[in-house]
C-alpha cells in the first residue's frame, strides 16, 4: 500500500536536488554536454552507408576501347572510388594489405578478344574480406555493375542482328520514409533513445548511493519522510533533464542532421515521458540497492548502455540475431522506444500502429517505478 504523500516534502527533495545539480558543474555537464557529444559522434562518425568503395584496377587489356568502356561503369558510379591503376600484382597486394583499397579489379589482356569471339570473358576481383559485412556489400555492387553491363551487351547484340529489345521484367523500386537510404536518418533517432536511457539511468544511479556514501541518508531516513516522497522528489529534476536532452536530440537531429520529423510532437513528448519514467526508476532502483556510487554507476552502464547499444535494434537489426538473443531483446525497453522514435521521425506514425510499443513502455515504467519504491529501505543495514 502506498502511504499518503505530502507534496511539500516531495518538492523539498526535488528543490534540494536541483540546487545540488546546479552547484555541481560536472553533473550538469554530464547531463547537457554528453548528449551533444554523442549526437555529434554518432551523427557524423557512424555512417552505415557503404559507397565510394576504394578500388585499384589493373587493366591488362588497356589498349582496347572495350575494356575502357567497361571500366567507365565503375568510374561513373558513386559506389566506387578508383584510387589508382597499376600494372602488377605487387601493388595490388600492397593496396589490399595496407587498406588503401578494398577491391582490386583485374581485367585480363584477352578480355576484348573473348567478348568479340562470343565466349565468356573472365574478370578477376580481389576482395579484402576482413570486414566481411562491407566486403559482401561491395561484391554485390560489382555484381550489379557487371550484370547491367551484360544486359546492355545482350541488347545491343540483338539490335545488331535486327531483333527488337529483349523481353525483361522491369523492377521499379520506390523507397519510402527514407528515399535517399541515408543511414543517418536511421541512426539519429537511435542515438536519442540511447542518450535518454544512459543519462537517465546514469545520473539517477548515483543520486541515492551518493547520499548513503556521504552520510546524509542516515540523517534523512531518521525523519518521517516516506520512501515514495523521497523517490519522486529525486525523480523530478532528472525528469526535467531528460526532457531537455530529448529536446536537444530532436533539434540537433532536425536542423543539424536534416532528419525529418513527420509525426506528432505531442505523442513524442508523452511516449518519451513513459520511457523516461522507466529509465529513471531503473537508475534509482540500482542506486538504492548498490549504495555506493561506483557500484551503482557500473551497474547502470551494464544494464542500460550495453543492452541499448547492442540489443535494441539501434545499429544491429534484431531479425539478424540468433533466436535466443532475439528473445532477450524483448526485455530491452529501448527496443520499443526506438520503434516509436523511428516511426515518429520518419513515418509520421500515429498511435494506431504504436499501441504495442506504448503498452510495453507503460509496463516498463510501472514495473520499474514500483520496484524503485519497494527496493528503497529506510534502514541503514
Amino acid at each position: 500500500m502506498m502511504p499518503a504523500m505530502n507534496i511539500k516534502r516531495i518538492m523539498a527533495i526535488a528543490n534540494k536536488e536541483f540546487i545540488q545539480i546546479k552547484r555541481d558543474p560536472r553533473s550538469l555537464g554530464l547531463a547537457i554536454v554528453i548528449p551533444i557529444v554523442l549526437l555529434l559522434i554518432f551523427g557524423y562518425g557512424l555512417s552505415l552507408d557503404i559507397d565510394k568503395v576504394r578500388t585499384v584496377v589493373w587493366n591488362q587489356d588497356g589498349s582496347s576501347q572495350v575494356s575502357r568502356d567497361f571500366l567507365l561503369n565503375f568510374e561513373n558510379s558513386k559506389y566506387f572510388k578508383i584510387i589508382g591503376y597499376t600494372d602488377n600484382y605487387r601493388d595490388i597486394v600492397r593496396a589490399l594489405n595496407n587498406g588503401s583499397s578494398m577491391l582490386a579489379l583485374v581485367i585480363p589482356k584477352d578480355f576484348s578478344r573473348y567478348l568479340r569471339s562470343g565466349s565468356k570473358a573472365p574478370l578477376q576481383l580481389l576482395v579484402d574480406g576482413s570486414d566481411s559485412n562491407t566486403a559482401t556489400i561491395a561484391m554485390g555492387y560489382v555484381k550489379t555493375v557487371v550484370t547491367q553491363y551484360n544486359v546492355n551487351l545482350f541488347a545491343s547484340t540483338l539490335q545488331q542482328q535486327g531483333l527488337g529489345p529483349p523481353k525483361k521484367a522491369d523492377l521499379r523500386s520506390r523507397v519510402w520514409y527514407n528515399p535517399g537510404l541515408n543511414s543517418r536518418w536511421f541512426i539519429v533517432p537511435g542515438v536519442i533513445a540511447m542518450i535518454i536511457m544512459i543519462i537517465a539511468a546514469l545520473l539517477t544511479s548515483i543520486c541515492v548511493a551518493r547520499e548513503w556514501e556521504r552520510g546524509t541518508m542516515e540523517q534523512l531516513v531518521s525523519t518521517p519522510v516516506k520512501a515514495p516522497e523521497l523517490i519522486i522528489g529525486k525523480f523530478i529534476p532528472y525528469f526535467v533533464i531528460g526532457l531537455i536532452d530529448l529536446a536537444i536530440g530532436v533539434i540537433m537531429g532536425r536542423f543539424l542532421f536534416g532528419v525529418p520529423f513527420e509525426g506528432s510532437y505531442l505523442l513524442l513528448v508523452i511516449l518519451s515521458m513513459l520511457f523516461l519514467t522507466g529509465a529513471l526508476s531503473q537508475g534509482i532502483m540500482i542506486s538504492s540497492i548498490a549504495r555506493t556510487q561506483l557500484l551503482a554507476s557500473q551497474l547502470a552502464i551494464l544494464t542500460t548502455f550495453i543492452p541499448t547499444m547492442l540489443l535494441s535494434g539501434f545499429i544491429y537489426p534484431i531479425f539478424n540475431m540468433p533466436k535466443a538473443v532475439q528473445a532477450a531483446t524483448y526485455l530491452v525497453p529501448a527496443r520499443y522506444y526506438l520503434v516509436i522514435l523511428r516511426g515518429l521521425f520518419l513515418k509520421g506514425n500515429g498511435m494506431d500502429v504504436m499501441w504495442d510499443e506504448a503498452v510495453f513502455l507503460i509496463i516498463f515504467a510501472v514495473l520499474m517505478f514500483g520496484l524503485a519504491i519497494r527496493k528503497f529501505k529506510k534502514k541503514v543495514a
Binding site: 523539498a12 518521517p224 534502514k379 541503514v380
Partner: protein
C-alpha cells in the same frame, strides 16, 4: 513516565553481537549519557532506538512507539544527529534548515519563529548563506543540532556530537542542551569524553555491546570508591574482562 525503554535489545551482524541484551529505562526530561570505547555499540544502539536499524532480538519503545512496528510514527517525535555530519555540504546553512523544516512539515509563523530562534542560539546568523561544507567543525555540529530541533522533538538522540569540536563550541553546545532539558526534552547522548559524561544525569557504560553499569555519575564513583568516572570505568571494565576470561 519512561520515554526510552528497551528490553533485551539485541543486534547481531553475522557472528558479531554489536548490542547484547540492552535494558534501558530513561524518564522524561533526563539526559542520559551512553559511554564506552569505540566499537562498544553506541552507534548501533542509537540506530536501533531511532528506527533506522532493526534489532535481531528484544524490543524497544521511544515515546510510546515501538521501534520496529511503529518506526515511522516514532520518527515524528524524535531527532537524531548521526556521528558523521549528516547535512548537505553543498547547501547553505539556511537551505539545510529550510529543507528539514519542509521535511518535518513545519510551516507558517511557527516556522519563521523557530528558524530565527535556532539561528540565534546557535550563533549561525552571520553564516546563513555559507555552504555547510565551509563551516568549522563546531559550527557544523551546531547547524546539525539546529536542523534536528526544527520540529521541536520530544526525544533527542545525539551520537558523539562534540567529537572534534573546540572547547568553546562544546560549551555553547551544552548550553543549548541544558535549555532543552528545561523544556522536558529527553536526550540520549553518546560520548567517549568522560567530562561530558559527568554532565549527564545518569550514565550507562557500554562495553562490547553490553551495558555494564548504569547510574548517576556520583553513585558510580562512590560505588567503586574512585575520584573520577574514568577510574571507576576502568575498574568496571577490568572486572568484566577478568570475569570473561
Amino acid at each position: 513516565m519512561s520515554v526510552i525503554k528497551s528490553v533485551n535489545l539485541t543486534r547481531k551482524f553475522g557472528s558479531l553481537t554489536a548490542v547484547n541484551g540492552l535494558n534501558l529505562d530513561i524518564p522524561e526530561g533526563e539526559i542520559f549519557g551512553l559511554v564506552g570505547p569505540d566499537g562498544a555499540g553506541k552507534t548501533t544502539t542509537m540506530r536501533l532506538l531511532t528506527g533506522i536499524l532493526e534489532p535481531t532480538g528484544g524490543e524497544a519503545w521511544v515515546y510510546n512507539k515501538h521501534v520496529v512496528k511503529e518506526a515511522e510514527p516514532l520518527k515524528e517525535n524524535i531527532a537524531y544527529m548521526s556521528q558523521r555530519f549528516g547535512l548537505y555540504e553543498d547547501l547553505t546553512v539556511l537551505e539545510n534548515i529550510n529543507f528539514y523544516a519542509d521535511i518535518y512539515c513545519v510551516s507558517g509563523k511557527q516556522r519563521s519563529d523557530k528558524i530565527e530562534q535556532l539561528l540565534g542560539f546557535s550563533g549561525l546568523i552571520p553564516f546563513k548563506k555559507r555552504l555547510a561544507g565551509k563551516l568549522s567543525g563546531g559550527m557544523k555540529q551546531k547547524l546539525g543540532l539546529a536542523c534536528a530541533l526544527i520540529h521541536t522533538p520530544k526525544v533527542l538522540f545525539l551520537d558523539e556530537p562534540t567529537n572534534g569540536v573546540d572547547p568553546v563550541s562544546r560549551r555553547d553546545f551544552w548550553k543549548i542542551l541544558y535549555d532543552l532539558l528545561k523544556e522536558k526534552v529527553t536526550i540520549l547522548y553518546s560520548t567517549s569524553y568522560l567530562d561530558e559524561a559527568e554532565r549527564c544525569r545518569r550514565v550507562g557504560l557500554i562495553h562490547k555491546g553490553s551495558l555494564l553499569n548504569c547510574d548517576t555519575p556520583d553513585n558510580i564513583k562512590s560505588q567503586y570508591n574512585t575520584k573520577t568516572l574514568e577510574q571507576a570505568f576502568i575498574k568496571i571494565i577490568n572486572e568484566y574482562e577478568s570475569g570473561h576470561k
